[in-house]
């Protein structure tokens, strides 16, 4: 297990350095004078230009600049927003809980629906259940989620009026952010109806963001289960006279989960990409919308720092998934 983790870590570090080089290079490869670009369309005074040049160190050799950049990153300095003049890290941390809450809920939906659906499809292979589950999964997998979000808004918000269109909670509630998770904060606030409001805001975005992971998990679970159900040890379990629930739900599923966990890990990156679209559609104040807004505002330090931070988050989550993978696979845990 330790060797496995060290190996994973060994890959992670060069990848992180590579990622930092890419984000570092990003501002330098912009066509034109980077300082003028950074300053945006308003232009700069010559004093400001010199100030920026010194601040950003553009007059020094590239290697030195990169080293300073890496050094700053390792000390938590991811640059400063040109628009808000706030440190990029602070802006990121202020928005990250919203994205995390949304992603967790979406993944929760995807897992609790996707795995049972895949199991049912595999066990009832070729039946009408299998066919409808797999058709639905393929439609979900092919879904343009930005459109899917709009469709759900038309149906549930505009036509039925069941759910709000945007934001994390109704404006009538105001309470301090303790954890950054609206579901928890609304409960902590003790305000009546706040929690229900938070849930109703969260539900559609979660469905939208969870759709593709759900479809992928269902498909992967089915194929993994089909493979496992043909294994000798499943026959052994049957030969023991165990109930079919125990055979499928314990002996087979436990083994099928190993590849499924890998796929769940890969979906984290997919969800971060999906978050940009989902947060845009639902005006969800998370890092995805923040990134897009910054791209439009040409707030390049934010784009640069945000890109690096999001990539780092994805890498950390993948490392955690590897941990989980090692934990559920005895060959690695005991290896």
């Amino acid at each position: 297990m330790l060797r496995f983790l060290l190996h994973r870590f060994g890959i992670l570090i060069p990848t992180f350095i590579g990622v930092s080089i890419v984000t570092f290079a990003f501002i330098r490869v912009l066509p034109g004078d980077p300082i003028l670009l950074l300053a945006g369309e308003r232009g700069v005074t010559p004093e400001r230009y010199a100030q920026l040049q010194e601040l950003l160190g553009f007059d020094r050799p590239l290697v030195v600049q990169y080293w300073d950049y890496l050094w700053a990153i390792l000390h938590g300095d991811f640059g400063t927003s040109l628009v808000s003049k706030q440190p990029v890290l602070d802006e990121f941390l202020a928005r990250f809980p919203a994205t995390l809450e949304l992603s967790l809920c979406a993944m929760f939906l995807a897992v609790i629906i996707g795995i049972p659906a895949g199991v049912i499809a595999a066990v009832k292979r070729g039946s009408i259940y299998d066919q409808s589950i797999m058709t639905t999964a393929l439609v979900g997998y092919s879904m343009p989620i930005f459109w899917w979000g709009l469709l759900l808004i038309i149906l549930f918000s505009v036509t039925l009026g069941w759910t709000p269109v945007s934001g994390r909670i109704s404006l009538m509630y105001y309470f301090p952010q303790v954890t950054g998770f609206m579901l928890i904060d609304s409960l902590l606030s003790g305000e009546k109806g706040a929690f229900a409001s938070a849930v109703s805001h969260l539900i559609l975005p979660s469905i939208v963001l969870g759709t593709i992971p759900l479809a992928v998990i269902a498909r992967q679970t089915r194929s993994a289960m089909l493979e496992v159900l043909g294994e000798d040890y499943v026959r052994t379990a049957r030969a023991k006279g165990l109930s079919s629930g125990r055979i499928v739900g314990l002996h087979a599923l436990r083994n099928a989960l190993i590849p499924v966990v890998t796929v769940i890990g890969l979906q984290v990156g997919v969800m971060m990409a999906g978050a940009i679209l989902t947060e845009t559609i639902f005006s969800w104040p998370g890092v995805g919308k923040w990134m897009l807004d910054s791209v439009f505002k040409r707030d390049y330090p934010v784009v640069q720092g945000g890109l690096l931070l999001i990539a780092a988050v994805v890498m950390v989550v993948n490392l955690m998934v590897d941990l989980l993978y090692g934990f559920i696979n005895p060959r690695i845990r005991q290896g």
């Binding site: 890959i11 060069p14 990848t15 992180f16 590579g18 990622v19 080089i21 890419v22 990003f26 490869v29 912009l30 058709t135 393929l138 439609v139 997998y141 092919s142 879904m143 343009p144 930005f146 459109w147 899917w148 709009l150 469709l151 808004i153 038309i154 505009v158 992928v216 498909r219 992967q220 194929s223 493979e227 796929v263 990156g269 997919v270 971060m272 990409a273 999906g274 940009i276 679209l277 845009t280 995805g288 990134m291 897009l292 791209v295 439009f296 784009v303 890109l307 999001i310 990539a311 994805v314 890498m315």
Partner: protein, 307 residues
């Protein structure tokens, strides 16, 4: 064995290889056609190709023609619909059906261009990495790891932000983020095929490196690459549409489906058909291609159980 028999058998092999290929195609089609979903997907896809090719003949109007007296006309099945505009008109009075038909052209070209770019560069890098190993391999594969470490759409978004918004740059960006999958696949196949007997014997027979790579090994790695290319085709259409939706892809008034969706967002309550129809077009196209992709995967490589 004498030299003469060697040449004779070689001649035999070339002759029989053509009929063998035909037999393989026949067998391929036999298994592929067993999968009804895949055949349906192929049918829809071919229909789309025809629609795209014949767009000027099929579309009732030009995609940019504005009918100022018919703004936001609902589709014909609605009480307020007009027979002249089967699927209604948008906010500036353009015929939605015509725009959708021309949009098919964009989507298919996008898929084709992106997949070609990603496939060609991916295969080249993968062959090089798998064949030369050593530091070349390390550098290429670490670079691919780095690209894959970023959420694809986010990286594409930032790339477009650097290169400037537009359809061409969006396609380049998406091709770049899709290409590592091809590199990995090609490299893995090269590594597994490299030491097989037929490659060793080709090498012993004096085949050069380039010939080994392109003539001997590559054809045997094709199955997973074809499947990946098909699935990437649909991903490309989806992602370019997503960039269009975010305002970073094709720019208005291009009748690209994602861009059309972005334009219609503000009419979501007044003219829901403007939102619904382009999305249906994207979904049907992507679904059809994925059906074909699944069918190809099951036919070409039953062991390749990716999702």
């Amino acid at each position: 064995m004498t030299d003469q028999t060697v040449t004779e058998t070689a001649a035999d092999t070339t002759r029989s290889s053509r009929s063998a290929r035909r037999a393989m195609l026949k067998e391929f089609w036999y298994y592929f056609s067993e999968n009804k979903g895949a055949v349906a997907g192929l049918f829809v896809f071919l229909t789309l190709v025809i629609v795209a090719l014949l767009a000027p003949l099929l579309a009732p109007y030009s995609p940019d023609q504005q009918f100022r007296d018919s703004l936001l006309v609902p589709p014909v099945w609605d009480a307020d619909g007009k027979a002249a505009f089967l699927l209604g008109t948008d906010a500036v009075g353009r015929d939605v059906l015509s725009r959708l038909i021309y949009g098919a052209r964009y989507s298919l070209v996008i898929g084709l261009v992106v997949v070609t770019l990603a496939l060609v560069s991916g295969i080249l890098l993968g062959l090089v990495a798998g064949f030369f190993r050593g530091w070349v391999d390390t550098v290429i594969m670490r670079l691919m790891d780095v690209i894959l470490a970023f959420p694809s759409l986010l990286l594409a978004l930032v790339l477009v932000a650097i290169l400037g918004p537009g359809l061409r740059n969006a396609m380049i960006a998406i091709a770049l983020v899709l290409q590592p999958h091809f590199v990995r696949l090609t490299r893995a196949s090269v590594l597994s095929e490299k030491n097989k007997d037929y490659v060793v014997s080709a090498r012993v027979a004096g085949a050069g490196k380039v010939r080994l790579m392109t003539r001997t090994i590559l054809p045997n790695c094709l199955a997973p690459l074809i499947v990946q290319a098909t699935l990437s085709f649909s991903t490309a259409i989806l992602d370019v549409a997503a960039l269009g939706f975010l305002g970073m892809g094709a720019q208005p008034p291009t009748p690209e489906w994602g861009t059309m969706l972005a334009d219609s967002r503000e009419f979501i309550t007044r003219a829901p058909w403007l939102v619904t129809l382009p999305g249906v077009a994207i979904l049907v196209t992507v679904l059809a291609i994925n059906l074909v992709g699944d069918g190809l995967r099951d036919t070409l490589d039953p062991k390749l159980k990716r999702s």
